[in-house]
Symmetry: C2
DNA sequence: CCATCTACTAGACCATCGATCCGGTCACTC
DNA sequence: GAGTGACCGGATCGATGGTCTAGTAGATGG
């Protein structure tokens, strides 16, 4: 998608309008109900027309996902080596928040993130970590990105699956899964995320010295 | 899926055979090509027959995913409090390896993992962490699970996307993404995973004391 | 040996999907 | 004012997940 050149549009139906409407449709009805026909209908056009602007439905999803990454605000860069955890933490929190605002994005994370917005956030992360002394910063950057993606996917999966049923399900099987039934219920997602992020950042800081 | 009762089969076409064949089909052709018709054909039956054993295609995928988790060997439990990192590391490595042996599983992680195999692995993780003094162990367990899931998803996504094209793509844009172009290429997935896992485990050990 | 019930199988079918074919329409250029 | 290329869409194709309906095989009871 990102490697193909753009053609000059006549501005009646633009890629931007398509992406904006796709985002709205995804937010309202989820990824399963995004259809080229439905998207075209919302845009007041025929489904075929979309294929002039876009090669495949996957392109629409790629664009929509990158638009989500575009919502992530870049933190202020770290002034010195010691402050790297603040911008890293801010970026990861913003990254997570953007994905959670659009829960359908969790189902799309199994594709290469090569959109400009995703790349610029990753670039910022690499620069922050490289500036902090991680040479090379790849493992550190991957750790953080993996953690964020994994936590978003898990949270979305469990919230969509219905936590009420899950609780009853686990309590019924408390004999087989005692630790899970005792500690696994009652999610406080934000605090859990921050705690785990703290583990990771602290472990990285320890290795950095 | 897991809450519904099983009916007594006559053993000509069993759920086990369906799952085994689904796994083979997924391994050979990927998740996009798993069709109820194709699966039925491989089993020498009609597509409708599958729906007697299974309510929907999602059930097949749930079962197949849990079968992957079934491949993960449980480590020996930690003898004392201090040794918790060994079983935790072993479990996470095994978890990751099983998912990577079946790359299609990465696309299925956006659903609740409530199969018996997944649950028993999670239970082991909770017990290991609770025994190490993490009370409650939820955040610690989530951190590790999130990290593994995220790293598998990212690796599968980039390997499927074709690393060769990605390299050229990033090199062309080295001006815009200098740190990424310099450090982001040439993946050594296993080492990167272990390094990040070490960060996480060390940070957790630090917090535990 | 027959009837019957239940586990199980399948062909035809439905609505819907992503994508394409082919024929248009509109605005701008020479 | 003819032509060119950007843009649009109705009809259609092949395929999909899932259902309806009509069965068949084999154990069970008498």
């Amino acid at each position: 998608m990102w490697s193909r050149p753009r053609k000059a549009p006549r501005q009646t139906l633009t890629l931007e309008r398509i992406v904006a409407e796709a985002l709205a449709l995804l937010d309202e009805e989820g990824v399963g109900r995004l259809t080229m026909r439905r998207l075209a209908e919302r845009l007041g056009t025929g489904s075929t027309t979309l294929y002039w602007h876009v090669a495949t439905k996957d392109d629409v999803l790629d664009l929509a996902l990158d638009a989500v990454f575009g919502e992530v605000r870049l933190p202020d860069p770290a002034p010195g080596e010691g402050d790297w955890r603040r911008p890293a933490r801010e970026l990861m929190r913003g990254w997570r928040a953007a994905l959670l605002r659009h829960p359908w994005s969790a189902a799309l994370l199994d594709r290469p993130l090569m959109g400009p917005n995703a790349l610029s956030r990753t670039e910022f992360l690499y620069q922050t970590l490289a500036g902090a002394g991680f040479t090379p910063p790849k493992a550190a950057a991957h750790s953080l990105a993996n953690y964020v993606m994994g936590s978003v996917i898990m949270q979305v999966a469990w919230e969509r699956g219905g936590d009420g049923d899950t609780g009853a399900f686990l309590r019924e099987r408390a004999a087989r899964y005692p630790a899970l039934a005792e500690h696994g219920l009652g999610h406080t997602w934000d605090a859990t995320f921050d705690e785990g992020l703290g583990y990771l950042l602290d472990g990285m800081e320890q290795a950095r010295r």
